[in-house]
Amino acid sequence: MSILESIVLLGAALLVVGMAFPVISRNLAVALSLQAAGVALIGSSGALVLFGAQAIGAEFRNSLDPALGIDGLTGFFLATLALAAVPALIFSRDYLADANRSRPLVALCGLFLISLIGVVVARDPSLFLASWELMTLVPATATLVRRNDATVRHAVYVYLAVTHLGGVGVWICVLALAHYGAIGDPAALAAHGTAPQAFIIAMAIVGFGTKAGLMPLHSWLPRAHPVAPSHISALMSGVMIKVALYGLIRALFEWAAPPPMWVGFVILGLGLISSLGGVLYALMQRDLKRLLAFSSIENVGIVALGLGASILFSSQGDTTWAAIAFVAALLHIVNHAVFKTLLFLVAGAFERAVGSLDLDQIGGLLRRMPWTGGAFLVGSMAIAGLPPLNGFASEWLTLQALIHMAIGPSLGLGVAGAIAAAGLAATAALAVFCFVKLVGLVLLGPARRAEVERAVEAPTAMKGAVMFLAGCCVALGAVPGLLISSLMQLAPQPQSLAAEPGLAIPATGSLPSPWLLFGVLALTALFWRLRGSRRSAPVPSWASGQRIEPSLSWRSAGFTKPLRLTLEAVFRPQREIVALREHGQLQSLRYRNEIPHLFDTLLYRPVQRGALRGALIARRLQSGSVRAYAAYLLALLLALLVLTRIGAIG
């Protein structure tokens, strides 16, 4: 047994002990620390494999006897998982300290992590599918343990229903791959022609796409993430949907490889819809966690843009750019894991401090919670794709890939690339819009509620965890190049690239990110010095001579109004104003404004209605009488006999 294998086993043992610990003891800090240590050990071994250590464990196999192993891609996802999960576990030490039912929550958190790790280290279909199911069920349980009123039950029901319907795709895909002996051996599938491959790929896109939250299969995501406890939502958004992307990458780029060109167009199209749709709906949300959930859809869309571009480049034989686009997707996966975990954790800290997460009712938290608030600001700037933070690096790389697809020579790819590049640029601008709104409503301006005035800074563990993640946002933004050369080895056709701190990609003007970070900081400091600290007179903000009352202050709806009006055809907002008059005098005004989720009203509701109607018809067959059922069996038997007789089956 190699040293690396023993480290992984030690980590797994610590994780299991940490999971079981709450059963015997009340001391949750120990349980969480054990879990964190276990995940950290497993994640660092994953990172070692990624950075060139020998792969450990078994190879992929098609038989059903369980096997585990870590190769480069698994190592990358394990490292990403640890980067998000360790801070989340440390955070929950204080977050769960005074929560009710915290013991089962801690145990479930450990089980959730085991299932997530299980999916990425599984080397056979049975373990993969078992972990996959567990990964779906555990967060649902954790959500219900925490709260189980009607809204939460409904959200969890939708989550389970949609992910299980989609999960059928995963089962079919993995079992069909095992049937053809294609897991770990793409040549096996190629021997059977294109039809099985197309079927398996379609199933993979439906199955893994649902879990990853690609539009239009995303319906569960904005419902499930807001109701889960914050550390679980952080793991769901930061890690679980990445594990689904892991499945998609394995299926498309390894087991069913090489994917035909239409797959590239499909993934690119889904990515474009998800990124634009996700951020547009995120912009219109009033609940902080729901906004973050929609923004996860956007980021999965950006990853899908990279993956789609990679497939299309491969189909053109451009292996260099195929690898760069693939790496852009991976880089965005790790970046999103970092800043989305950060934002969800801070959302938990804010919820604990001020009670509700209604964006219009917070305000001014930066003054009261400077450390967590500062981390939230860094995370928001990173997710908005602003230089010199990490979100910019991966979006820059994705945009470069799309631009190089747009410049030809093929007409179809060129137009697709140009539209996708313009869509990504618009997505980035919308993300700036969305997150400056978020920062403004939550951190800046006056407090909008009395509870907010009394908010205090979060305890040390929570503060430390989010500040660590903010540091990761800066570090990954400063030196993404150190990661790139290893990630290049994971691409379908590995390419070599000189290791540099910045991103020196051929045929671009290069992104020397350390210098960019230095430049922004140094010049800001320079201008700060030049500005000097002159006396400045305190005055109220100018509002044409009026005072800015909290009830008159700007809210989410007002700030996004120009965009809502511009895109009225897309959003189809509904508003209702009821004026109550008596004796010619206005007594009261009632105003309601809603942005319906078009995927729900135009897609899911008709499907749901159709399913219910079908069920009503099918119910007529269910008379409840035993004789009728015996007759059905007889009819079936006869039908089968007839079919055998005429040679249709058998």
């Binding site: 539209i419 313009a422 640029a425 980035a428 671009t508 992104l511 020397p512 201008f527 005055v539």
Partner: protein, 303 residues
């Protein structure tokens, strides 16, 4: 040569930039039959503001005071990225076009955050409009840049500018489309009519001026310099990538000066001849630019 180009990058951006909005204003006044301010007026404004004390709207945080410095830093960094006459010394910052887009977004974020910090309606109105239009403008900018990348296959601004050198590119319809599309970007980024009106402080119409309302003293001076530097960067970019230029460094430098002068005159003319359009109509204009750019791309790909 590189050293001269580097010197012009910095001196031009830092010192000459205020001349651009100043001369546009002066020329516009002439066209409208007024005497108007001298082209040097922005310098006087900056000197006056630099000496004044500032005010501190309550309740604001550090973000409000940091925003002008961050905006100015983003603009100052952008100066290093844009080559002059196709040359730029080997600054360690590279010359990538998309990094420029990112730095502009950073400035926009900082300014919008500052208006949330004051909570004043004027600033928020301006920045919400600015951000709404930026969605369309950024897509248009990327498409226009793609068209300029076509002949050279790289997003390096030096290579892109060299590819636009000479008369060969003008035989491509794509280049004409690119020039027209980038013209709309120029109108948006410099805050000119018909998209924005730089002369007004009416809340019904203003976009870029809105978030500046609360600032005074050196903060306002930094922001006004940043607005001038934004003019400089966008106009130099337009002249380098989308306007005709020929020959070696000297000739191209002359072409650059001519191109910037031409753009200033054109802006003064459009400001005089065009009424401001409704804000909600502007996205359609920018979207039309996107379609034009796509047509240009298709014309290149089929030929």
């Amino acid at each position: 040569m590189n050293a001269i180009a580097g010197a012009i990058q910095l001196i031009g951006g830092l010192a000459l930039a205020p001349l651009l909005p100043g001369s546009i204003q002066a020329l516009k006044a002439r066209l409208q039959g007024r005497r108007g301010p001298s082209p040097l007026q922005p310098y006087r404004e900056l000197r006056r503001l630099w000496g004044k004390s500032s005010v501190d709207p309550q309740p604001t945080t550090l973000i409000y005071r940091l925003a002008p410095c961050l905006v100015a830093a983003a603009m100052a960094l952008s100066l290093f990225l844009v080559p002059i006459a196709g040359l730029s010394p080997n600054w360690p910052l590279g010359n990538d076009a998309i990094v420029l887009v990112g730095l502009f977004a950073l400035a926009r974020f900082a300014l919008a955050a500052s208006s949330w910090d004051t909570g004043s309606g004027f600033g928020l109105m301006g920045s919400s409009r600015d951000l709404t239009l930026s969605v369309f403008a950024e897509a248009l900018l990327v498409l226009a840049l793609i068209l300029a990348v076509l002949p050279v296959g790289s997003t390096d601004l030096i290579a892109m500018s060299s590819a636009a050198n000479g008369s060969a590119v003008w035989s491509q319809p794509a280049h004409w489309c690119a020039a027209a599309a980038f013209g709309l970007v120029v109108l948006f980024e410099t805050g000119r009519q018909p998209i924005d009106n730089p002369d007004t402080h009416l809340e019904l119409t203003m976009i870029h001026e809105g978030p500046l309302l609360e600032y005074a003293g050196r903060d306002l001076a930094l922001l006004q310099w940043s607005a001038a530097a934004r003019h400089w960067i966008i106009l130099v970019l337009a002249a380098e990538l989308y306007l005709p230029h020929w020959g070696g460094f000297g000739a191209r430098l002359a072409c650059l000066v001519g191109g910037i002068a031409l753009l200033c005159v054109t802006l003064a003319f459009t400001e005089t001849a065009q009424a401001k359009m409704r804000i909600l109509r502007a996205p359609a204009l920018l979207g039309g630019g996107c379609l034009l750019a796509l047509v240009g791309l298709i014309s290149w790909l089929v030929s």
